[in-house]
């Protein structure tokens, strides 16, 4: 029997964008996309794709669907999970989705999952690197009324359940969850695999499947934000560093210790 896995993946501005290129248009409260830095799939979501691929590597018969809600999708970015080995890419594409909050995102993703499902596992990232909220996947478990396990660094299918390792501040827990469940994946699972040539070729031939909001029985009026963005800005830093310069690097180290002592810091 085929195990159907859906991986939630969000397109985000590249978090490695140098701070000097990170700009905000304060009249629209939007990030100005930096020239020549294309968006990427959120890092933790690629970790989730990797998690799904490892289930396949273990010998299970799996179908991996990548699901994203947004607009202005850049296919070079969004097809990376396909190049890693995912089977399908499903995009809910509507410019109205630019303005929504996470409560509305959960509504859209839940509707898409109900339409395209049922799935045996819903995998998401631990957080999206744009708004850093870390609650869309958790909220989805509530709305779908499915069991939730967050911050998973290892997973393995066993009969009708899934064995998980969940990262806690000082170690990890071993958890058994039923199928279906909602699981958030963290970077501790390990680097997402690099697409190989065959994967890239296959991905280039695959066409994404599109859903409109209407296909999901939703309209923008169902998606008014509960949390309204009032202001977005780059904080000013007025910190001044005092550089300690010795005769050589070793001397600088010594002088640093003396200076910290003078300030009664050590």
């Amino acid at each position: 029997m085929t195990v159907r896995i859906v991986v939630l993946a969000k397109q985000v501005p590249d978090p490695e964008t140098p701070p000097s290129q990170f700009k905000i248009d304060e009249s629209t409260n939007k990030v100005i996309p930096p020239n020549g830095v294309p968006p990427v799939v959120n890092g933790f979501d690629l970790n989730a794709v990797e998690a799904a691929m490892r289930i396949r590597d273990s010998g299970a018969d799996v179908e991996i669907t990548v699901l994203s809600a947004g607009s202005h999708f850049v296919m070079d970015a969004m097809k990376k999970p396909l190049a890693m080995g995912a089977d399908r890419l499903v995009l809910v594409d509507d410019t109205g989705l630019d303005e929504i909050d996470s409560a509305a995102t959960v509504k859209v993703l839940a509707a898409a999952i109900k339409k395209d499902g049922p799935y045996d596992l819903v995998l998401g990232g631990r957080q999206a690197s744009d708004w850093d909220q870390a609650h869309v996947t958790l909220g989805l478990a509530e709305i779908l009324e499915l069991p939730l396990v967050s911050l998973v660094q290892k997973l393995e299918l066993k009969n009708d359940s899934v064995l998980l390792q969940r990262v806690i501040p000082d170690g990890y827990q071993e958890i058994t969850a039923p199928i279906p469940s909602v699981i958030t994946i963290t970077n501790e699972i390990g680097e997402p695999r690099y697409p190989n040539l065959r994967g890239i070729m296959q991905a280039s031939r695959k066409k994404p499947e599109f859903f409109s909001l209407a296909d999901l029985g939703l309209s923008l009026s169902d998606l008014t934000p509960k949390l309204v963005l009032k202001k977005l800005y780059v904080p000013e830093s007025n910190k001044q560093v005092e550089l300690i310069v010795g005769e050589d690097e070793a001397d600088s180290g010594k002088k640093l210790a003396l200076r910290l002592r003078e300030e009664k810091l050590i």
């Binding site: 978090p15 701070p19 990170f22 990030v31 909050d101 409560a103 690197s129 850093d132 909220q133 609650h135 958790l138 909220g139 478990a141 499915l146 939730l148 396990v149 967050s150 990262v167 806690i168 501040p169 000082d170 170690g171 990890y172 827990q173 071993e174 958890i175 058994t176 969850a177 039923p178 970077n187 501790e188 680097e191 934000p225 509960k226 949390l227 309204v228 963005l229 009032k230 202001k231 977005l232 800005y233 780059v234 904080p235 560093v241 005092e242 550089l243 300690i244 310069v245 690097e249 070793a250 600088s252 180290g253 010594k254 640093l256 210790a257 200076r259 910290l260 002592r261 810091l265 050590i266």
Partner: protein, 318 residues
Amino acid sequence: MTSVLLIAERDVLGEISQSTLQLISAANELDDPQLTVAIAGSAPESATSLAIGKLVTLPAISDDEVGIYDQITADVAALVTSTNPDIVILSKSDFGTVVGSRVAFRLDLALASDCIAISNSGGMVNVTRPVYGGSALAEFEFASSPAVVTLRPGAYEPNVDAGSPSIEAFESVVAVNKAASVTGTVAQASEGVRLEDASFVISGGRGLGGAEPFSVLADLANALGGAVGASRAACDAGWIDHSHQVGLTGKSVSPDVYMAVGISGASQHMAGCSSSRVIVAINKDGDSNIFKEARFGVVGDWEKVLPSFLATVRELRA
């Protein structure tokens, strides 16, 4: 009047955590606040003398619930429904993130996580939260009530006032079907002072180049009674366990001195240490961002700077 429900957490000794005391400080800045603290399990000594109006005890969290938090989520949701506070505040910890999100979505409430400031006036609740890894700040207004907020540790000072709250037990009424179960816990015990509690933290990054140099950091931490932290890059490389990671998706620390060695100072790293009293940087690249965040710095190779720093520290403390 603003009615505020704070969901408490415990420290390793079972007493009220420092992060919970920070929630009280945040709530005290609201308009005419009426504070209720809810805590799972019987009230510890430190809870019964908090400077709040009411203390509510919830059923204890059993060990095999931790991480899944089905029962406590149901209990907090029931408490929110029955008391209808204006604002519910939790810490942005593992517990607060899971329970806060689940309660908010279960009750269809608006949620803002990892906030560094909260205020209200004229019935409107506003929060500020870092976004884009900390490259930007965003101010939000809640369009509905109750507002659910998780607060970044270190954003407020702990409240140390004493009071005598009334104490009430909240009976768990909602039955929970255990969906997933915890079958074991593997602790990655680190020796010495806990990273979160240390007054001196020395962290290493990709610039250290391997696992071996972390022993030099450990020597320094030992000499100063501190703890060792790391950047995500160092943890991902396998040089040190992830339990040492400081940052947005790691631990939040606010020591007197935070020393960053071979760390570039990405906003996501700074998110975990920017409330430190003083940041000290050692980095061979004078242009790296860490020097925009640090109070003291040495531009140089850690392999040359650190040994003499350590030797001088030892002399000074001898």
